[in-house]
Symmetry: C2
Subunit: 352 residues, 2 copies
Amino acid sequence: MEDKRITKRLNLKGVAEKLGVSTATVSNAFNRPDQLSKNLREKILSEASRLGYHGPNLAARSLRRGRSDVIGVMLSDSLTYSFSDPMANQMLQGISEVLMEYNKQLLLFYEGKDNTAQSSAESLPDGFIFYGSSNLETFKRIVALGKPCVTIDYVQDKIPSVGIDDRSAAKKIAMHAISQVNHGTVAILGMKLVVSDRVCRLTQDDLDEKSVEISRQRLLGYFDAVTENDLTIPPESIWSVPFNTEKYAKIAAKEAFSSSLHPNIILCMSDVIALAAISTAQSMGLNVPKDVIIVGFDDISEAKHASPSLTTVCQQNAQKGKVAAKMLLENNLTNCILETKLVVRQSSSPTN
Amino acid sequence: MEDKRITKRLNLKGVAEKLGVSTATVSNAFNRPDQLSKNLREKILSEASRLGYHGPNLAARSLRRGRSDVIGVMLSDSLTYSFSDPMANQMLQGISEVLMEYNKQLLLFYEGKDNTAQSSAESLPDGFIFYGSSNLETFKRIVALGKPCVTIDYVQDKIPSVGIDDRSAAKKIAMHAISQVNHGTVAILGMKLVVSDRVCRLTQDDLDEKSVEISRQRLLGYFDAVTENDLTIPPESIWSVPFNTEKYAKIAAKEAFSSSLHPNIILCMSDVIALAAISTAQSMGLNVPKDVIIVGFDDISEAKHASPSLTTVCQQNAQKGKVAAKMLLENNLTNCILETKLVVRQSSSPTN
DNA sequence: ACAAAAAACTTAAATGATTCAGTAAAAATT
DNA sequence: AATTTTTACTGAATCATTTAAGTTTTTTGT
C-alpha cells in the first residue's frame, strides 16, 4: 500500500488544501465555472497555475466520467506502413482537422501482421474510426465495447461507413482506358487479391478467394467494363500485389510486361502501383502511353507530377477522414458514399 | 452519486464475482501470471473473454499505476498540416516502429496557430516527443510535468534532442551548388525566417529577427559557403516562406525569378520548396539546371522522381523518430546528431 | 510426522477526480 | 420582517484497478 513515487504528484486535493476550499470547488473551477463565484474561480486558477497544477488528471477524470475526449483510430496495416501511405496520411489529416475543432485527442492503434494483441489502451477512447480492412478479431473485440464506431473503406454489417463506390469508379476508368486503343489487351495489377505476402499471378481458383473488399469491388468494376467492350480478362492477366508499395508493384509490373500477354492496357488499383508500373515499363524500353496505357486509382499528389502524368480516379481522402470524424462526434451514424472523379492525364492519351 | 450509465460496464470485479475469486486474483491473471496457479489463470482468462471482458480499463489502471504505456507526440505545427508534410510522416513512421516493438500506444497532440490550450490528455502519456519548434508555453508546461521528454529538430536547454548538423549540411550543399557555375548569383528560399504568415523578402533588420532555429542554422551554413567563395548574399536575395507547402513556395519562387536579381542558384531549405521552385522556373520558361541550379534539403521521395531530379541533402527522418522513441523508452536521454548525405542529381548538373 | 518454506489466494488501502445531495449564506420577493 | 429563491460552497460516494501485506493451503525437507 506504500507509495513508490518519490515526490507525490500535485493533485486537485493538494490545491484545494492550499487554498482552504473543498476539492469539489477546485474541480468546479476547472469544469463548471457557473458553480462558483468569479472571484474565487480566478483565485483558484491562478494559484493552481502558480503551484504547477495544470488541470485534472485524465486517467482519474475519465475513470470517473466514463469518457476521455480521446478518439481512437485503428489503422488496418501496421502503423509503420500506413504513415508512408499517402492515402492514409490524407485521411488522417481530415480526421485531425475535425478533432482539433472539437478539441479531442487522437490515439493511434496499429495492427502488426500477427499482432492482434489487445491493448489496455483500447478501453480509453470514446469512439473508434477504422481505416481499411482490419483484422476481424480486433474489429469485433472493439465493436463489442459498445462505443460508437465508424469505418472508412471497410464495410461491415451494422457499422456506419464512409467510402466510395469502388465498383462504378473502377468501371469508369476502365471504360476510358479501353476506349483509347483499338485492340485492347488488358492486365490488372491489384492489391491483396489473394491472401499472400508475395506477388501472385492469379489462377481460376483465386477469383473466388477471399480478398480485400474494396479490391474485389474494383475488380468487378474492371470486369464490368471489359465485358461491355466484348473483351475478356483471364485470371492469368491479373496480378495481386501484397502491399501498396513501389517495391512489390515493380515486381508485378515486370512479370506482366515480360509475360507472353503483351498487355497494352494496365489497370492498376492504386497510384502507387501505377507509378511503379510506368517506371518499370520505361526501364524495359516501353513508351507510356504509346506502347501501353497505364491508369491508377486514388490521385495521390505524385500522380500529377509524374511523367507521363497519371490518369487516375480522384477520391477525396481528407474528406473521408473529415466525414468519419464528424459522424462520430456528432453522433450521426449513417453511411456515406463520397463522389469520385475520373482524371484523364497523359498516361492514357496515346494520340497526343 | 447516482450512476448515469445505462448499462454498467463489465469490470474486473464483476468477473471476479462470477468466478468466486477476489479481484486481486483476476488482476493477477492479467498482469502477474506467476502469482496464481496455471489452471485458475486459464479459467479466469477464458471466462473473462466469454463474458466480454477484454482486459483492465486503462483509465483505472493508469490512475493506480501512475503510468499508461502511452507516449505523447507533440507536432509543432497543427497536426492537420503535419500529416501532409512528408518529413513529419517519415518521422512518425520511425516512432511508431519502435512503439510497436515496445507495445506502447501513440497519443498525438497538435498546436493550432493560437491554440496553446492545455488538454487534460497531457497528463496521460509517460513521456513526450516534440517534433519541430513548439510553442514555448506549451513546451514549458509539458516539460514541467516532470516526465521524460525528447525533442526532434528542436533544441532546448537541458532537454535531450535528436537532429542533424544543419549548418554544416547547408554549407555542404551550397558549396556544391556554387561550384557548378562560373559566376553564381545566389537566392535563398527559406522556411520561417521571420515571424509572418506571408511570403517575405528580407531586409537588413530581418537577419536579426527570431526565426526557427534550424532555419537559422541552415542560413548560417549557406553564408559560410558563400563567404568561402568570395560571394555575398544581401538580405534582398533571401525569401522567407511561412509554411512548407507548394503554394507559398511558388509565390516566393515567382518573386525571386521576376526580381532584378536574376539568380542562377537557388538554395532551398526544403525539398517541397525546391520542387515548387523547379516547377515555377519551368513555367516561366527557365531551364533547370541550365539557366538556374536549384537544390533542396530533406530528400523526400518526390525528389528522386522529379524532372529534373533534385539535388538535395538526405537526412534520415525515420531514423530521427526511431532514435527519439528509443531514447525515451530505454531512458537513455543523451543528445544525438544524425549524419546527412549530399545527394547530387540533375537539378544541379548543368553540364550534362 | 513435523517444521519450515513456498505457493496460492484474499483483504483492503490507495490512485485523482467528479458530481449528487445537502447546507449555509446572501439576495430577492412579498 | 418573514419567507422564498438563488447563489456559493462542502461532504462523501464512486469510478476500476493495482499491490503490499496478510492468511491459508500445499509442498518440501528431514
